[in-house]
Symmetry: C2
Subunit: 218 residues, 2 copies
DNA sequence: AATATAGTGTGTATTTTTTACACTATTAAA
DNA sequence: TTTAATAGTGTAAAAAATACACACTATATT
């Protein structure tokens, strides 16, 4: 007797200075018409991570996204039709890459939509609990995590980076101290490029130096 | 169709200045005669945590132990008889409480034994991988974790506490700096009691002030 | 009684990190 | 040319982390 279980994805992005999560409106019972995390059953011979990639692809059109396992949820009562275990994953995507691609590709959901983490609708199953745990975890790991850089464009301004930190920590940070610290960490590459299309002083763009970042984490 | 899955427990203790894990010798196929983490199938109407408690109780005689979910493992090939998902938990116990209680209470294992984390035997399934991940996680969280205090007796010496830190970090620490820091954190209660039965100067005993610890973590 | 043993317990100076805080510079649009 | 909006910058003070060595004490041994 083999294991039969689902995966659910908490797909984050950063847009308009806010952290947002992709939710889908279910078109199937149970919880038909409710908002839920994208998720589905894992096939018999399918690796969990591949299932997560499949689901994220269906929902964002993106392959090769940043993934991390969050936890397993298996409450006896979590699913109204009997105990179904789910393994929740966190995925981080760049908004620029997905903004035009989000649409329901499958028959079992009506639509997909980005919701700011502070303004979520009522959610199916125990999905709110899953999301809350995922925020907690991102927060805790922030200081040694790639997360901010997976959420931002490849080239970003220091203000954007600070906004990601602020959104995750839920508090505002001092601009000068934030910049000083980021520069001292030494894994930001200052580019000779600047923002375009803004009606005020254009900010300098930065890139993450992944090699230096990795060295520091070890 | 409901979920059918197992839980596996990485049960840690601290003894003889070493971190140790409880392993059981399997008395059933597959992997009969191999060492493995204590684990078993979760009953149909049983909460995961209750299954973990049941298994820890069978193996250590202890109830109410410190538990934390580690991760789900579901590799298609992890179990030779077909994909079985397992949810791994970390449990922390005090050696003084279990030292005489560890014995195989069930028919499916021959014996149970504490192994230092640096000298593990060959292990069944993907259990080595599970253990490695658990050590990583304990290490990362050390600075804001109750783990050291769950592994030590209620009343402990600063040297013992330092040994737990050193075992988890895999490096030695300076005694004076360690003590200064622990005292400054402010959640250790200095007792008017001292070690007994040692043939050298008896060390002062300390207790964790859980209330102050909690305040600091928030 | 003297000595060996083994671990306890303590202070200071230096460096590094963190914090608090306010103004000038640049650009586009009105 | 003025206004509105955001970018970008330095210093002083406090707190935390680090490096480092020796005297103390309880017991066991002779």
């Amino acid at each position: 007797m083999l294991s039969h279980f689902t995966v659910d994805c908490v797909i984050y992005t950063f847009h308009e200075a806010q952290l947002k999560i992709l939710l889908t409106e279910r078109n199937e019972y149970p919880y038909k018409g409710w908002w839920a995390l994208p998720g589905f059953f894992v096939e018999k011979d399918e690796e969990m991570e591949d299932a997560v990639k499949r689901i994220s692809y269906e929902n964002t059109g993106l392959k090769d996204i940043y993934l991390e396992q969050l936890a397993a949820f298996a409450g006896v009562k979590r699913h109204p039709e009997g105990r179904i275990l789910t393994v929740a994953y966190v995925a981080l995507v760049r908004y620029e890459n997905v903004k035009n691609k989000v649409k329901p590709v499958t028959s079992y959901m009506k639509q997909a939509k980005w919701y700011p983490i502070n303004h979520l609708p009522d959610l199916a199953f125990d999905h709110r609990e899953i999301i809350e745990l995922s925020v907690e975890k991102l927060k805790k790991r922030l200081s040694y995590s790639l997360a901010p850089f997976e959420l931002l464009p490849e080239k970003f301004t220091l203000t954007q980076l600070q906004q990601v930190y602020e959104a995750l920590l839920g508090e505002t940070l001092d601009k000068r101290n934030f910049r000083k610290k980021m520069n001292n960490l030494g894994y930001l590459k200052e580019l000779d490029e600047f923002q375009t299309g803004v009606s005020y002083r254009a900010a300098r763009l930065y890139k993450l130096d992944r090699r230096k970042f990795q060295k520091l984490v070890d």
